[in-house]
Symmetry: C2
Subunit: 299 residues, 2 copies
Protein backbone atom coordinates (compact mmCIF):
# COMPACT_ATOMS: atom_id res chain seq x y z
CA UNK A 1 0.00 0.00 0.00
CA UNK A 2 1.17 3.54 -0.74
CA UNK A 3 1.55 6.35 1.79
CA UNK A 4 2.84 9.88 2.24
CA UNK A 5 3.66 11.81 5.41
CA UNK A 6 1.93 14.83 3.83
CA UNK A 7 -1.37 12.95 3.54
CA UNK A 8 -0.98 11.49 7.04
CA UNK A 9 -0.66 15.02 8.38
CA UNK A 10 -3.77 16.24 6.51
CA UNK A 11 -5.82 13.27 7.74
CA UNK A 12 -4.51 13.35 11.31
CA UNK A 13 -3.73 9.63 11.14
CA UNK A 14 -1.84 7.13 8.97
CA UNK A 15 -3.37 6.82 5.50
CA UNK A 16 -2.62 3.57 3.64
CA UNK A 17 -3.69 3.50 0.01
CA UNK A 18 -4.57 0.31 -1.88
CA UNK A 19 -4.02 1.58 -5.43
CA UNK A 20 -6.36 -0.39 -7.68
CA UNK A 21 -5.91 2.21 -10.42
CA UNK A 22 -2.63 0.35 -11.01
CA UNK A 23 -4.56 -2.89 -11.71
CA UNK A 24 -4.86 -4.22 -15.32
CA UNK A 25 -7.13 -1.86 -17.36
CA UNK A 26 -6.66 0.89 -14.78
CA UNK A 27 -9.31 -0.20 -12.29
CA UNK A 28 -10.26 -3.05 -9.92
CA UNK A 29 -12.93 -4.19 -12.40
CA UNK A 30 -10.61 -6.65 -14.15
CA UNK A 31 -10.78 -8.80 -11.01
CA UNK A 32 -14.56 -9.27 -11.23
CA UNK A 33 -14.51 -9.81 -14.99
CA UNK A 34 -11.79 -12.42 -14.71
CA UNK A 35 -13.60 -14.15 -11.85
CA UNK A 36 -16.93 -14.25 -13.72
CA UNK A 37 -15.43 -15.72 -16.91
CA UNK A 38 -13.34 -18.20 -14.95
CA UNK A 39 -16.47 -19.43 -13.17
CA UNK A 40 -18.45 -20.10 -16.37
CA UNK A 41 -18.43 -23.48 -18.08
CA UNK A 42 -16.73 -23.59 -21.47
CA UNK A 43 -20.17 -24.02 -23.09
CA UNK A 44 -21.53 -20.96 -21.28
CA UNK A 45 -18.84 -18.63 -22.58
CA UNK A 46 -18.35 -20.26 -26.03
CA UNK A 47 -20.29 -17.62 -28.05
CA UNK A 48 -18.82 -14.75 -26.08
CA UNK A 49 -19.97 -12.39 -23.33
CA UNK A 50 -21.90 -9.14 -23.05
CA UNK A 51 -21.65 -6.43 -20.40
CA UNK A 52 -23.08 -2.97 -19.82
CA UNK A 53 -20.93 -0.40 -18.09
CA UNK A 54 -20.03 3.28 -17.83
CA UNK A 55 -16.49 2.24 -18.63
CA UNK A 56 -14.35 0.45 -16.09
CA UNK A 57 -16.37 -2.78 -15.98
CA UNK A 58 -16.35 -2.62 -19.79
CA UNK A 59 -12.55 -2.62 -19.94
CA UNK A 60 -12.26 -5.28 -17.24
CA UNK A 61 -14.60 -7.65 -19.09
CA UNK A 62 -13.02 -6.82 -22.47
CA UNK A 63 -9.54 -7.74 -21.23
CA UNK A 64 -10.76 -10.87 -19.46
CA UNK A 65 -12.54 -11.96 -22.67
CA UNK A 66 -9.42 -11.26 -24.73
CA UNK A 67 -7.37 -13.44 -22.37
CA UNK A 68 -9.95 -16.24 -22.78
CA UNK A 69 -9.93 -15.70 -26.57
CA UNK A 70 -13.70 -15.12 -26.81
CA UNK A 71 -15.74 -12.20 -28.25
CA UNK A 72 -17.07 -9.43 -25.97
CA UNK A 73 -19.91 -6.97 -26.70
CA UNK A 74 -20.02 -3.96 -24.40
CA UNK A 75 -23.00 -1.59 -24.05
CA UNK A 76 -21.74 1.84 -22.98
CA UNK A 77 -23.59 5.11 -22.32
CA UNK A 78 -22.84 7.54 -25.14
CA UNK A 79 -21.63 10.14 -22.59
CA UNK A 80 -18.89 7.86 -21.17
CA UNK A 81 -15.35 9.34 -21.07
CA UNK A 82 -13.89 9.05 -24.57
CA UNK A 83 -10.78 7.28 -23.28
CA UNK A 84 -12.88 4.49 -21.77
CA UNK A 85 -14.77 3.93 -25.03
CA UNK A 86 -11.53 3.92 -27.08
CA UNK A 87 -9.74 1.60 -24.66
CA UNK A 88 -12.62 -0.86 -24.60
CA UNK A 89 -12.52 -1.04 -28.41
CA UNK A 90 -8.72 -1.34 -28.44
CA UNK A 91 -8.93 -4.27 -26.02
CA UNK A 92 -10.82 -6.09 -28.78
CA UNK A 93 -14.43 -5.61 -27.67
CA UNK A 94 -17.35 -4.51 -29.87
CA UNK A 95 -18.79 -1.33 -28.29
CA UNK A 96 -22.51 -0.51 -28.68
CA UNK A 97 -23.43 2.99 -27.47
CA UNK A 98 -26.84 3.92 -25.97
CA UNK A 99 -28.44 7.07 -24.54
CA UNK A 100 -28.57 6.63 -20.78
CA UNK A 101 -31.51 9.00 -20.33
CA UNK A 102 -33.84 7.60 -23.03
CA UNK A 103 -32.84 3.96 -23.69
CA UNK A 104 -32.96 0.90 -21.43
CA UNK A 105 -29.61 -0.85 -21.48
CA UNK A 106 -31.27 -3.94 -20.02
CA UNK A 107 -33.72 -4.22 -22.96
CA UNK A 108 -30.98 -3.51 -25.52
CA UNK A 109 -28.65 -6.01 -23.85
CA UNK A 110 -31.35 -8.71 -23.68
CA UNK A 111 -32.04 -8.32 -27.42
CA UNK A 112 -28.37 -8.58 -28.43
CA UNK A 113 -27.71 -11.49 -26.03
CA UNK A 114 -30.65 -13.45 -27.37
CA UNK A 115 -29.62 -12.88 -30.99
CA UNK A 116 -26.04 -14.03 -30.51
CA UNK A 117 -26.20 -16.39 -27.53
CA UNK A 118 -23.95 -14.21 -25.35
CA UNK A 119 -23.50 -14.70 -21.60
CA UNK A 120 -24.21 -11.59 -19.52
CA UNK A 121 -21.51 -10.44 -17.10
CA UNK A 122 -23.29 -8.16 -14.62
CA UNK A 123 -21.31 -5.24 -13.19
CA UNK A 124 -21.93 -6.10 -9.51
CA UNK A 125 -25.02 -8.17 -8.73
CA UNK A 126 -23.40 -11.57 -9.29
CA UNK A 127 -21.72 -13.78 -6.66
CA UNK A 128 -18.72 -14.50 -8.92
CA UNK A 129 -18.17 -10.80 -9.63
CA UNK A 130 -18.47 -9.97 -5.93
CA UNK A 131 -15.95 -12.74 -5.15
CA UNK A 132 -13.50 -11.37 -7.73
CA UNK A 133 -13.69 -7.81 -6.40
CA UNK A 134 -13.37 -9.25 -2.87
CA UNK A 135 -9.82 -10.35 -3.64
CA UNK A 136 -8.89 -6.69 -3.02
CA UNK A 137 -10.03 -7.26 0.55
CA UNK A 138 -8.03 -10.49 0.94
CA UNK A 139 -4.90 -8.53 -0.01
CA UNK A 140 -5.74 -5.62 2.30
CA UNK A 141 -6.22 -7.97 5.28
CA UNK A 142 -2.71 -9.42 4.68
CA UNK A 143 -1.10 -6.05 4.01
CA UNK A 144 -2.69 -4.46 7.10
CA UNK A 145 -1.05 -7.14 9.26
CA UNK A 146 2.30 -6.45 7.55
CA UNK A 147 1.85 -2.72 8.30
CA UNK A 148 1.01 -3.42 11.95
CA UNK A 149 -2.56 -2.15 11.58
CA UNK A 150 -4.90 -4.31 13.66
CA UNK A 151 -7.99 -2.10 13.62
CA UNK A 152 -9.07 0.41 10.97
CA UNK A 153 -11.86 1.67 8.76
CA UNK A 154 -11.43 0.61 5.14
CA UNK A 155 -12.93 3.28 2.88
CA UNK A 156 -14.22 2.04 -0.48
CA UNK A 157 -15.65 4.05 -3.41
CA UNK A 158 -19.11 2.56 -3.90
CA UNK A 159 -21.35 2.30 -6.96
CA UNK A 160 -23.52 -0.81 -7.06
CA UNK A 161 -21.61 -2.30 -4.15
CA UNK A 162 -19.74 -5.19 -5.77
CA UNK A 163 -16.37 -4.09 -4.46
CA UNK A 164 -17.65 -2.86 -1.10
CA UNK A 165 -19.64 -6.01 -0.37
CA UNK A 166 -16.83 -8.29 -1.60
CA UNK A 167 -14.27 -6.52 0.58
CA UNK A 168 -16.65 -6.54 3.57
CA UNK A 169 -16.94 -10.34 3.46
CA UNK A 170 -13.15 -10.76 3.69
CA UNK A 171 -13.03 -8.61 6.84
CA UNK A 172 -15.48 -10.57 8.97
CA UNK A 173 -13.76 -11.49 12.24
CA UNK A 174 -10.90 -9.02 11.71
CA UNK A 175 -10.42 -5.55 13.22
CA UNK A 176 -11.05 -4.02 9.78
CA UNK A 177 -14.42 -2.67 8.67
CA UNK A 178 -15.49 -1.65 5.15
CA UNK A 179 -17.33 1.66 4.71
CA UNK A 180 -18.77 2.83 1.37
CA UNK A 181 -17.87 6.30 0.06
CA UNK A 182 -19.98 8.23 -2.45
CA UNK A 183 -20.32 11.63 -4.12
CA UNK A 184 -23.00 14.09 -3.02
CA UNK A 185 -26.28 13.58 -4.85
CA UNK A 186 -25.49 9.92 -5.51
CA UNK A 187 -25.34 8.63 -1.94
CA UNK A 188 -27.79 5.76 -2.35
CA UNK A 189 -25.62 3.26 -0.44
CA UNK A 190 -25.09 5.62 2.49
CA UNK A 191 -28.82 6.37 2.77
CA UNK A 192 -29.70 2.69 2.30
CA UNK A 193 -27.39 1.61 5.12
CA UNK A 194 -28.99 4.28 7.35
CA UNK A 195 -32.59 3.31 6.54
CA UNK A 196 -32.03 -0.45 6.23
CA UNK A 197 -33.62 -0.65 2.76
CA UNK A 198 -32.46 0.03 -0.81
CA UNK A 199 -32.82 3.76 -1.48
CA UNK A 200 -32.78 5.28 -4.98
CA UNK A 201 -30.98 8.40 -6.21
CA UNK A 202 -33.03 11.33 -7.50
CA UNK A 203 -30.91 11.75 -10.64
CA UNK A 204 -29.04 9.21 -12.73
CA UNK A 205 -26.16 10.95 -14.48
CA UNK A 206 -24.06 14.07 -14.72
CA UNK A 207 -21.63 13.56 -11.83
CA UNK A 208 -17.91 14.13 -12.32
CA UNK A 209 -17.61 10.85 -10.39
CA UNK A 210 -19.31 9.02 -13.30
CA UNK A 211 -17.46 5.76 -12.61
CA UNK A 212 -19.33 5.05 -9.38
CA UNK A 213 -22.78 6.42 -10.11
CA UNK A 214 -25.53 3.82 -9.89
CA UNK A 215 -29.21 4.16 -9.16
CA UNK A 216 -29.24 2.12 -5.94
CA UNK A 217 -27.24 -0.66 -4.23
CA UNK A 218 -27.62 -4.13 -5.75
CA UNK A 219 -30.16 -6.77 -4.72
CA UNK A 220 -27.37 -9.19 -3.81
CA UNK A 221 -24.74 -6.66 -2.68
CA UNK A 222 -26.97 -4.65 -0.33
CA UNK A 223 -27.82 -7.38 2.23
CA UNK A 224 -24.08 -8.21 2.43
CA UNK A 225 -23.21 -4.55 2.99
CA UNK A 226 -25.99 -4.14 5.56
CA UNK A 227 -24.64 -7.11 7.52
CA UNK A 228 -20.93 -6.15 7.41
CA UNK A 229 -20.33 -2.47 6.65
CA UNK A 230 -19.95 0.63 8.78
CA UNK A 231 -21.87 3.77 7.83
CA UNK A 232 -21.27 5.50 4.51
CA UNK A 233 -19.30 8.70 3.88
CA UNK A 234 -20.31 11.38 1.38
CA UNK A 235 -17.91 13.85 -0.30
CA UNK A 236 -18.44 16.83 -2.58
CA UNK A 237 -17.28 16.88 -6.22
CA UNK A 238 -14.73 19.53 -5.21
CA UNK A 239 -13.31 17.28 -2.49
CA UNK A 240 -13.04 14.38 -4.95
CA UNK A 241 -11.21 16.62 -7.43
CA UNK A 242 -8.82 17.85 -4.77
CA UNK A 243 -8.12 14.25 -3.74
CA UNK A 244 -7.22 13.49 -7.38
CA UNK A 245 -4.74 16.38 -7.28
CA UNK A 246 -3.21 15.30 -3.96
CA UNK A 247 -2.84 11.69 -5.14
CA UNK A 248 -0.98 13.05 -8.19
CA UNK A 249 1.26 15.28 -6.06
CA UNK A 250 1.91 13.06 -3.05
CA UNK A 251 1.50 9.47 -4.25
CA UNK A 252 2.46 9.88 -7.95
CA UNK A 253 -0.65 8.05 -9.10
CA UNK A 254 -3.41 9.00 -11.55
CA UNK A 255 -7.01 8.76 -10.34
CA UNK A 256 -10.41 9.55 -11.82
CA UNK A 257 -12.68 11.57 -9.48
CA UNK A 258 -14.94 8.59 -8.75
CA UNK A 259 -11.85 6.55 -7.85
CA UNK A 260 -10.76 9.23 -5.39
CA UNK A 261 -13.88 9.60 -3.22
CA UNK A 262 -12.55 7.33 -0.46
CA UNK A 263 -9.27 9.27 -0.35
CA UNK A 264 -11.32 12.48 -0.21
CA UNK A 265 -13.29 11.08 2.74
CA UNK A 266 -10.06 10.16 4.57
CA UNK A 267 -8.53 13.61 4.02
CA UNK A 268 -11.54 15.92 4.41
CA UNK A 269 -13.95 14.00 6.69
CA UNK A 270 -11.51 12.75 9.28
CA UNK A 271 -13.93 13.58 12.11
CA UNK A 272 -16.25 10.87 10.77
CA UNK A 273 -13.50 8.21 10.99
CA UNK A 274 -12.09 6.38 14.00
CA UNK A 275 -8.64 4.97 14.78
CA UNK A 276 -4.94 5.68 14.34
CA UNK A 277 -4.91 4.51 10.73
CA UNK A 278 -7.30 4.46 7.80
CA UNK A 279 -7.12 2.27 4.72
CA UNK A 280 -8.30 3.78 1.45
CA UNK A 281 -9.06 1.99 -1.81
CA UNK A 282 -8.46 4.08 -4.94
CA UNK A 283 -10.54 2.27 -7.51
CA UNK A 284 -9.64 3.63 -10.93
CA UNK A 285 -7.59 6.01 -13.04
CA UNK A 286 -9.40 6.13 -16.39
CA UNK A 287 -9.88 9.88 -16.51
CA UNK A 288 -10.23 12.21 -19.49
CA UNK A 289 -7.28 14.59 -19.60
CA UNK A 290 -9.40 17.76 -19.50
CA UNK A 291 -11.01 16.56 -16.25
CA UNK A 292 -7.61 15.60 -14.82
CA UNK A 293 -6.01 18.97 -15.56
CA UNK A 294 -9.06 20.72 -14.01
CA UNK A 295 -8.39 18.67 -10.87
CA UNK A 296 -4.72 19.73 -10.85
CA UNK A 297 -5.83 23.38 -10.88
CA UNK A 298 -7.11 22.86 -7.31
CA UNK A 299 -3.52 22.54 -6.02
CA UNK B 1 6.01 -4.49 -12.13
CA UNK B 2 3.37 -2.61 -14.13
CA UNK B 3 2.40 -3.26 -17.74
CA UNK B 4 -0.08 -2.31 -20.45
CA UNK B 5 -0.96 -4.08 -23.71
CA UNK B 6 -0.95 -0.64 -25.37
CA UNK B 7 2.69 -0.04 -24.44
CA UNK B 8 3.65 -3.62 -25.42
CA UNK B 9 2.20 -2.95 -28.86
CA UNK B 10 4.11 0.32 -29.27
CA UNK B 11 7.40 -1.27 -28.19
CA UNK B 12 6.92 -4.48 -30.17
CA UNK B 13 7.70 -6.55 -27.09
CA UNK B 14 6.57 -6.94 -23.47
CA UNK B 15 7.36 -3.83 -21.41
CA UNK B 16 7.63 -4.37 -17.64
CA UNK B 17 7.86 -1.22 -15.54
CA UNK B 18 9.55 -1.04 -12.13
CA UNK B 19 7.82 2.07 -10.80
CA UNK B 20 10.25 3.72 -8.38
CA UNK B 21 8.23 6.94 -8.58
CA UNK B 22 5.94 5.09 -6.13
CA UNK B 23 8.82 4.76 -3.63
CA UNK B 24 8.89 6.94 -0.47
CA UNK B 25 9.56 10.63 -1.43
CA UNK B 26 8.55 9.86 -5.03
CA UNK B 27 11.88 8.50 -6.28
CA UNK B 28 14.34 5.64 -5.77
CA UNK B 29 16.69 8.03 -3.90
CA UNK B 30 15.25 7.15 -0.48
CA UNK B 31 16.91 3.75 -0.83
CA UNK B 32 20.43 5.21 -1.09
CA UNK B 33 19.84 7.76 1.65
CA UNK B 34 18.51 5.12 4.01
CA UNK B 35 21.42 2.80 3.21
CA UNK B 36 24.04 5.52 3.76
CA UNK B 37 22.63 6.57 7.13
CA UNK B 38 22.18 2.97 8.24
CA UNK B 39 25.84 2.28 7.43
CA UNK B 40 27.21 5.17 9.52
CA UNK B 41 28.19 4.73 13.15
CA UNK B 42 26.03 6.55 15.70
CA UNK B 43 28.93 8.96 16.33
CA UNK B 44 29.28 9.70 12.60
CA UNK B 45 25.69 10.78 12.18
CA UNK B 46 25.21 12.37 15.64
CA UNK B 47 25.45 16.02 14.51
CA UNK B 48 23.39 15.40 11.39
CA UNK B 49 24.02 14.98 7.68
CA UNK B 50 24.48 17.20 4.65
CA UNK B 51 23.72 16.48 1.00
CA UNK B 52 23.72 18.39 -2.29
CA UNK B 53 21.10 17.53 -4.87
CA UNK B 54 18.89 18.83 -7.66
CA UNK B 55 16.01 17.48 -5.65
CA UNK B 56 15.31 13.76 -5.44
CA UNK B 57 18.45 12.85 -3.45
CA UNK B 58 17.58 15.81 -1.22
CA UNK B 59 14.17 14.38 -0.36
CA UNK B 60 15.55 10.87 0.06
CA UNK B 61 18.20 12.01 2.53
CA UNK B 62 15.75 14.35 4.30
CA UNK B 63 13.28 11.54 4.93
CA UNK B 64 16.01 9.09 5.98
CA UNK B 65 17.37 11.69 8.43
CA UNK B 66 13.88 12.34 9.79
CA UNK B 67 13.41 8.61 10.41
CA UNK B 68 16.78 8.56 12.27
CA UNK B 69 15.75 11.69 14.20
CA UNK B 70 18.82 13.70 13.15
CA UNK B 71 19.16 17.10 11.40
CA UNK B 72 19.71 17.33 7.64
CA UNK B 73 21.10 20.28 5.65
CA UNK B 74 20.44 20.11 1.91
CA UNK B 75 22.21 22.28 -0.70
CA UNK B 76 19.93 22.70 -3.71
CA UNK B 77 20.38 24.64 -6.98
CA UNK B 78 18.17 27.71 -6.92
CA UNK B 79 16.56 26.60 -10.24
CA UNK B 80 15.32 23.26 -8.83
CA UNK B 81 11.61 22.52 -9.31
CA UNK B 82 9.69 24.42 -6.67
CA UNK B 83 7.90 21.28 -5.49
CA UNK B 84 11.21 19.57 -4.70
CA UNK B 85 12.45 22.51 -2.63
CA UNK B 86 9.15 22.73 -0.72
CA UNK B 87 8.99 18.98 -0.10
CA UNK B 88 12.55 18.85 1.17
CA UNK B 89 11.76 21.60 3.68
CA UNK B 90 8.48 19.94 4.67
CA UNK B 91 10.36 16.69 5.38
CA UNK B 92 12.20 18.62 8.09
CA UNK B 93 15.47 19.49 6.32
CA UNK B 94 17.17 22.90 6.25
CA UNK B 95 17.50 23.91 2.57
CA UNK B 96 20.40 26.14 1.45
CA UNK B 97 20.06 27.39 -2.15
CA UNK B 98 23.01 28.10 -4.46
CA UNK B 99 23.46 29.27 -8.07
CA UNK B 100 24.55 26.26 -10.07
CA UNK B 101 26.30 28.33 -12.76
CA UNK B 102 28.38 30.60 -10.49
CA UNK B 103 28.82 28.85 -7.12
CA UNK B 104 30.65 25.61 -6.21
CA UNK B 105 28.34 23.40 -4.18
CA UNK B 106 31.36 21.39 -3.05
CA UNK B 107 33.07 24.47 -1.52
CA UNK B 108 29.84 25.66 0.07
CA UNK B 109 29.11 22.17 1.41
CA UNK B 110 32.62 21.79 2.83
CA UNK B 111 32.30 25.08 4.71
CA UNK B 112 28.92 24.23 6.26
CA UNK B 113 29.99 20.64 7.11
CA UNK B 114 33.16 21.86 8.86
CA UNK B 115 31.24 24.49 10.88
CA UNK B 116 28.62 22.06 12.16
CA UNK B 117 30.32 18.66 12.07
CA UNK B 118 27.90 17.22 9.51
CA UNK B 119 28.46 13.94 7.66
CA UNK B 120 28.27 14.23 3.87
CA UNK B 121 25.89 11.89 2.02
CA UNK B 122 27.06 11.88 -1.60
CA UNK B 123 24.40 11.48 -4.31
CA UNK B 124 26.05 8.52 -6.05
CA UNK B 125 29.81 8.11 -5.59
CA UNK B 126 29.62 6.16 -2.32
CA UNK B 127 29.54 2.35 -1.93
CA UNK B 128 26.70 2.48 0.62
CA UNK B 129 24.58 4.67 -1.65
CA UNK B 130 25.25 2.40 -4.63
CA UNK B 131 24.31 -0.61 -2.49
CA UNK B 132 21.05 1.06 -1.44
CA UNK B 133 20.04 1.92 -5.01
CA UNK B 134 21.06 -1.61 -6.03
CA UNK B 135 18.18 -3.04 -4.00
CA UNK B 136 16.01 -2.01 -6.97
CA UNK B 137 17.99 -4.56 -8.99
CA UNK B 138 17.57 -7.29 -6.38
CA UNK B 139 13.82 -6.85 -6.63
CA UNK B 140 13.86 -6.79 -10.43
CA UNK B 141 15.83 -10.05 -10.59
CA UNK B 142 13.18 -11.77 -8.43
CA UNK B 143 10.25 -10.18 -10.24
CA UNK B 144 11.65 -11.08 -13.67
CA UNK B 145 11.70 -14.75 -12.64
CA UNK B 146 8.09 -14.46 -11.44
CA UNK B 147 7.15 -12.94 -14.83
CA UNK B 148 8.92 -15.72 -16.73
CA UNK B 149 11.51 -13.35 -18.17
CA UNK B 150 14.90 -15.09 -18.30
CA UNK B 151 16.75 -12.67 -20.57
CA UNK B 152 16.15 -8.94 -21.06
CA UNK B 153 17.68 -5.49 -21.22
CA UNK B 154 16.99 -3.45 -18.09
CA UNK B 155 16.77 0.23 -19.03
CA UNK B 156 17.74 2.68 -16.27
CA UNK B 157 17.60 6.51 -16.29
CA UNK B 158 21.20 7.51 -15.54
CA UNK B 159 22.69 10.62 -13.92
CA UNK B 160 25.85 9.97 -11.92
CA UNK B 161 25.33 6.23 -12.21
CA UNK B 162 24.52 5.25 -8.61
CA UNK B 163 21.32 3.45 -9.57
CA UNK B 164 22.65 2.03 -12.84
CA UNK B 165 25.85 0.69 -11.31
CA UNK B 166 24.02 -0.68 -8.25
CA UNK B 167 21.47 -2.47 -10.41
CA UNK B 168 24.20 -3.79 -12.73
CA UNK B 169 25.97 -5.53 -9.84
CA UNK B 170 22.82 -7.45 -8.89
CA UNK B 171 22.48 -8.79 -12.46
CA UNK B 172 25.90 -10.40 -12.79
CA UNK B 173 25.42 -14.05 -13.75
CA UNK B 174 21.75 -13.56 -14.72
CA UNK B 175 20.23 -13.13 -18.18
CA UNK B 176 19.46 -9.50 -17.36
CA UNK B 177 21.70 -6.59 -18.38
CA UNK B 178 21.52 -2.97 -17.19
CA UNK B 179 21.72 -0.20 -19.81
CA UNK B 180 21.85 3.52 -18.94
CA UNK B 181 19.36 5.90 -20.60
CA UNK B 182 19.97 9.65 -20.93
CA UNK B 183 18.55 12.79 -22.54
CA UNK B 184 20.18 14.29 -25.65
CA UNK B 185 22.94 16.76 -24.80
CA UNK B 186 23.57 15.07 -21.43
CA UNK B 187 24.68 11.63 -22.64
CA UNK B 188 27.96 11.48 -20.69
CA UNK B 189 27.43 7.87 -19.53
CA UNK B 190 26.60 6.65 -23.03
CA UNK B 191 29.69 8.31 -24.52
CA UNK B 192 31.86 7.16 -21.62
CA UNK B 193 30.80 3.53 -22.07
CA UNK B 194 31.61 3.83 -25.78
CA UNK B 195 35.05 5.42 -25.28
CA UNK B 196 36.00 3.51 -22.13
CA UNK B 197 36.80 6.71 -20.17
CA UNK B 198 34.76 9.28 -18.23
CA UNK B 199 33.42 11.84 -20.72
CA UNK B 200 32.07 15.25 -19.71
CA UNK B 201 28.93 17.06 -20.94
CA UNK B 202 29.32 20.36 -22.81
CA UNK B 203 26.61 22.10 -20.77
CA UNK B 204 25.55 21.63 -17.16
CA UNK B 205 21.91 22.64 -16.84
CA UNK B 206 18.74 23.59 -18.63
CA UNK B 207 17.37 20.15 -19.53
CA UNK B 208 13.73 19.31 -18.91
CA UNK B 209 15.18 16.05 -17.54
CA UNK B 210 16.83 18.00 -14.69
CA UNK B 211 16.65 15.08 -12.26
CA UNK B 212 19.25 13.03 -14.11
CA UNK B 213 21.64 15.69 -15.41
CA UNK B 214 25.20 15.30 -14.11
CA UNK B 215 28.49 16.42 -15.56
CA UNK B 216 29.99 12.96 -15.99
CA UNK B 217 29.68 9.44 -14.53
CA UNK B 218 31.13 8.98 -11.04
CA UNK B 219 34.65 7.85 -10.18
CA UNK B 220 33.31 4.82 -8.34
CA UNK B 221 30.20 4.19 -10.41
CA UNK B 222 31.85 4.32 -13.85
CA UNK B 223 34.21 1.33 -13.54
CA UNK B 224 31.26 -0.75 -12.27
CA UNK B 225 29.13 0.32 -15.23
CA UNK B 226 31.97 -0.30 -17.69
CA UNK B 227 32.35 -3.85 -16.37
CA UNK B 228 28.65 -4.77 -16.27
CA UNK B 229 26.47 -2.57 -18.47
CA UNK B 230 25.33 -2.75 -22.07
CA UNK B 231 25.57 0.34 -24.27
CA UNK B 232 23.64 3.50 -23.42
CA UNK B 233 20.47 4.80 -25.05
CA UNK B 234 19.77 8.48 -25.75
CA UNK B 235 16.30 10.02 -26.11
CA UNK B 236 15.08 13.49 -27.07
CA UNK B 237 13.28 15.81 -24.63
CA UNK B 238 10.17 15.36 -26.77
CA UNK B 239 10.36 11.58 -26.43
CA UNK B 240 10.78 11.87 -22.66
CA UNK B 241 7.73 14.16 -22.46
CA UNK B 242 5.65 11.78 -24.56
CA UNK B 243 6.71 8.89 -22.30
CA UNK B 244 5.46 10.90 -19.29
CA UNK B 245 2.10 11.29 -21.06
CA UNK B 246 1.85 7.60 -21.97
CA UNK B 247 2.74 6.51 -18.43
CA UNK B 248 -0.09 8.76 -17.20
CA UNK B 249 -2.55 7.39 -19.75
CA UNK B 250 -1.64 3.71 -19.78
CA UNK B 251 -0.06 2.94 -16.40
CA UNK B 252 -1.83 5.56 -14.22
CA UNK B 253 1.45 6.77 -12.76
CA UNK B 254 3.02 10.24 -12.52
CA UNK B 255 6.59 10.64 -13.82
CA UNK B 256 8.98 13.55 -14.20
CA UNK B 257 10.66 13.73 -17.65
CA UNK B 258 14.03 12.56 -16.29
CA UNK B 259 12.31 9.60 -14.67
CA UNK B 260 10.74 8.65 -18.00
CA UNK B 261 13.82 8.46 -20.27
CA UNK B 262 14.11 4.67 -19.98
CA UNK B 263 10.43 4.24 -20.84
CA UNK B 264 10.98 6.60 -23.79
CA UNK B 265 13.91 4.44 -24.95
CA UNK B 266 11.78 1.28 -24.72
CA UNK B 267 8.90 2.83 -26.69
CA UNK B 268 10.74 4.93 -29.30
CA UNK B 269 14.12 3.19 -29.72
CA UNK B 270 12.98 -0.41 -29.89
CA UNK B 271 15.40 -1.15 -32.77
CA UNK B 272 18.28 -0.58 -30.33
CA UNK B 273 16.95 -3.19 -27.89
CA UNK B 274 17.04 -6.99 -28.08
CA UNK B 275 14.72 -9.71 -26.79
CA UNK B 276 11.02 -10.50 -26.32
CA UNK B 277 10.74 -8.37 -23.20
CA UNK B 278 12.29 -5.19 -21.83
CA UNK B 279 12.37 -4.05 -18.22
CA UNK B 280 12.15 -0.31 -17.58
CA UNK B 281 12.89 1.56 -14.36
CA UNK B 282 10.86 4.76 -13.90
CA UNK B 283 12.92 6.62 -11.35
CA UNK B 284 10.88 9.54 -10.10
CA UNK B 285 7.66 11.53 -10.20
CA UNK B 286 8.53 14.86 -8.58
CA UNK B 287 7.42 17.06 -11.45
CA UNK B 288 6.18 20.65 -11.46
CA UNK B 289 2.57 20.76 -12.61
CA UNK B 290 3.20 23.14 -15.50
CA UNK B 291 5.78 20.72 -16.93
CA UNK B 292 3.43 17.79 -16.39
CA UNK B 293 0.50 19.42 -18.16
CA UNK B 294 2.80 20.35 -21.08
CA UNK B 295 3.70 16.65 -21.32
CA UNK B 296 -0.02 15.69 -21.39
CA UNK B 297 -0.51 18.01 -24.37
CA UNK B 298 1.60 15.56 -26.45
CA UNK B 299 -1.23 12.96 -26.27
Amino acid sequence: MLSSPFLDEMAGRRVLVKAENLQHTGSFKFRGGWSALSGMSEAQRANGVIAYSSGNHAQGVAMAAAKFGIPAVILMPSDSPRLKIENTRALGAEVVLYDRLTESREDLGATISAERGLALVKPYDDPLVIAGQGTVGLEIVEQAVAEGVAKADVLVPCGGGGLTSGISITMEGTGLRARPCEPEGFDDATRSLASGKREVNATQGGSICDAIVTNSPGEITFPIMLKNCGSGLVVSDGEAMRAVALAYQRLKIVLEPGGAVALAAALFHSDEIEGDAVIVVTTGGNVDTDVFTRCLETL
